[in-house]
Symmetry: C2
Subunit: 318 residues, 2 copies
C-alpha cells in the first residue's frame, strides 16, 4: 500500500467530508487494488442521498461553461456540488486527455465544490466503473448534488442516462451539420434541454426546433409523467441559470411523486452490477488466470478457435 | 427462425460472396440468437485474410468523404472493399442514428464494395461485438480490405486501434478549439495521418503541426519500426488519395516484416475474446438467470449490498 495508509483508512475521513481523503480515495479506487473492495462496499452503503445529474452535449455546446454557471447558482442557494467530469481517454497513457486544463479553476477553492476529472478508461468504453465509484465517494461525502459531465458524443451519452437521476442535454445554436446529426441522437435522452449561448441571435430558432421535436414525443412523455422543458441559458448574461436549477429540482420532485425515482434506482443498480461483473471477469482472467487466457488467445489468433467458443471455455455453464 | 431459413444456411453463400446472404447473415448476428453460434464460429475460421483498416477522426474532419475517395482508388486498382460504418446509437430504439443517410450511395451499386452501417449498440459502449462479427463476415466473404469507419470521438477511437491492423486518423484544418482538444487525444493512435481538405489555404499549417507533433514521439515510433506518415488529401482535387492507398499498403508490408502483424493479431484475438466474455455474461445473467440478477438488483438499489459484492455473487471463484 503506497504511503503506508490502507484504503480503508480514507473512508471515514472522506465520509466526514475531508477533501484530501476524498481525492485520495478516488485515486485508490482508480488504481483498483484488491485492497479497495471493503472500502468500496462501505462507501456504496453510505451513498444514496445525492441527486445525480448527468450533463451532456456535443462538442462546442458549452457544457463546461454551463456547469460553471449552474454550480455558482447552487452555491448561492447553499447547496454543495461534486462534479465528475469524464474525458476521452488516451489509449496509450490511459490518462485523461483534457485533464483539468479546461476546468473551472475559479470555483476550485470553494469547500462546497469538489471537481474530479477522469478518463473514460473503461476497457469496454463508456462510463467506467471507476467513474461510478467516484460518484459514490462524492455522494457518501455528503455533496447534495453530484454532476456527471461528459465530453464527446456517442456511447458516453447513452451511459449517462443509465446512471443519473436527471439528464440534461445541452444544445447550442449554429453548430455544423456533422455535429447537428450526432446531436439529434442524444436529444431523446434529455429530461431537461438547455439551449446555451441564448445571447446569440440564432438561439431562438434552436429553442423552437427543440420544442417542435418534443411535440412529436408527447406520448412517450405522457407515459413517463414528465415533459422535458427547454431552458435557454446564457453564461454571458446569466439568463436561464436559475430556471435550469429550478427545472432540475422540479424533475427530482416529479420522479419521487411518480415512483419513477425508485425505478431509476433499480435501473442504476442493475447497470452498476453488470459493470462490476465485467470488471471482475477482466481482473480474474486478465491477471490470475492469465495463462489460460493467453493459450486461448494464441488459438483464436491463428483461427483454430473462434472468440465465442473461447469465451465459453472461460465461463463454462454452472 | 425468421423466414424459415437457418442462420447456418447463409454461411456458405456469404463466403461465396453472395451479397444478399452477407447482408442477412450480418442481420442475424445483430439480432444475436443462439442459432448464430455455429455460424459465427465457421465465419471466424474462414476469415483472416482481409486487411482491416480503421479510419477515424473527429466530427467535421471529412472521414466519410475520404473513405469514398479511397474506395474509388482501391476499386480502380481492382481491390474489393467492405466497409463497416459505426454510428452513435440511439439509446431508445437501439438503432443507428445516422443510418445510411450520409453514406456513399454512388458507390453502392459496385459488386466489389459492400457497405454496412451499424449502431455502436454495445451495452458497454465502444465497438460492439456485433460490429466485429460483421467485419468477420466481410473478411470471410473475400473482401481484400475491410474498413471500419467510426463517427464520433472518445472510446470508439480507442477501440478501433485494438481491432484494426492499420489505423488512419483524419484531421481537417480549421476546426473549433473544442474539437481540436478532443482531436489531440486520438492523434496518438494513428499509423497514418490524413489531413483532409488539403485544398484549403490553412491545410499546410495543420500538416506542419502534425509533423512537429510526430517528432516528439520519434522514440516510440523507432521502437515500433514505423514512422506514421502525414498525407494531405483533397476530395475536390483527388490530391493525396493514391498516396494514402500506398501508405496503407506500405504499413501492412512493414507490419509483416517486423513481426508486428502477428503481435497485432494476438492483441485483436484477446480483445475479441474479452468482448465475447462480456456478451456471454450479459446473456446468461440478463436472460436465463434473470431472477437471480433481479434479486441482487433490489438489494443493491436499497444499498443493502454493494455492486462489487453482487458481481462476486454472480461469478463465484471456481
Amino acid at each position: 500500500v503506497s504511503g503506508g495508509v490502507a484504503t480503508a483508512d480514507f473512508v471515514a475521513a472522506a465520509i466526514a467530508g475531508d477533501r484530501r481523503a476524498i481525492a485520495r480515495l478516488i485515486s485508490r479506487f482508480e488504481s483498483g487494488g484488491e485492497d479497495c473492495a471493503a472500502a468500496q462496499a462501505e462507501i456504496y452503503r453510505r451513498a444514496g442521498r445525492a441527486h445525480i445529474v448527468g450533463i451532456t452535449g456535443v462538442p462546442g455546446s458549452g457544457k463546461s461553461t454551463l456547469v460553471k454557471s449552474l454550480v455558482r447558482e447552487l452555491r448561492q442557494a447553499g447547496r454543495s456540488v461534486g462534479i465528475v467530469a469524464i474525458d476521452p481517454t488516451s489509449p496509450f497513457s490511459g490518462g485523461s486527455i483534457l485533464g483539468d486544463r479546461i476546468r473551472m479553476n475559479e470555483i476550485a477553492g470553494d469547500p462546497g465544490v469538489f471537481i474530479r476529472s477522469m478518463a473514460t478508461r473503461g476497457a469496454l468504453g463508456g462510463l467506467s466503473a471507476t467513474a461510478l465509484d467516484a460518484v459514490d465517494v462524492l455522494d457518501a461525502a455528503g455533496f447534495d448534488m453530484v454532476i456527471i459531465e461528459t465530453v464527446g458524443v456517442g456511447q458516453d451519452e447513452v451511459d449517462i442516462v443509465t446512471v443519473a437521476h436527471t439528464t440534461v442535454v445541452v444544445s447550442a445554436p449554429g453548430l455544423g451539420d456533422d455535429i447537428q446529426a450526432i446531436k439529434a441522437g442524444i436529444l431523446e435522452i434529455a429530461d431537461i434541454h438547455v439551449v446555451s449561448k441564448a445571447d446569440r441571435p440564432d438561439a431562438n430558432r434552436t429553442v423552437r426546433e427543440l420544442k417542435t421535436m418534443l411535440t412529436h414525443d408527447v406520448h412517450r412523455h405522457e407515459a413517463r409523467g414528465w415533459h422535458p422543458p427547454v431552458v435557454a441559458t446564457s453564461a454571458e448574461t446569466g439568463e436561464g441559470i436559475a430556471a435550469l436549477n429550478a427545472a432540475i429540482a422540479g424533475h427530482r420532485a416529479a420522479l419521487a411523486q411518480s415512483g419513477e425515482f425508485a425505478r431509476r434506482g433499480r435501473r442504476i443498480a442493475e447497470v452498476r452490477i453488470l459493470r462490476e461483473v465485467d470488471r471482475l471477469v477482466r481482473r480474474r482472467f486478465g491477471d490470475a488466470d492469465g495463462p489460460a487466457l493467453q493459450r486461448l488467445v494464441e488459438r483464436v489468433a491463428v483461427r483454430d478457435l473462434d472468440p465465442h467458443a473461447a469465451a465459453a471455455e472461460l465461463l463454462p455453464p454452472r
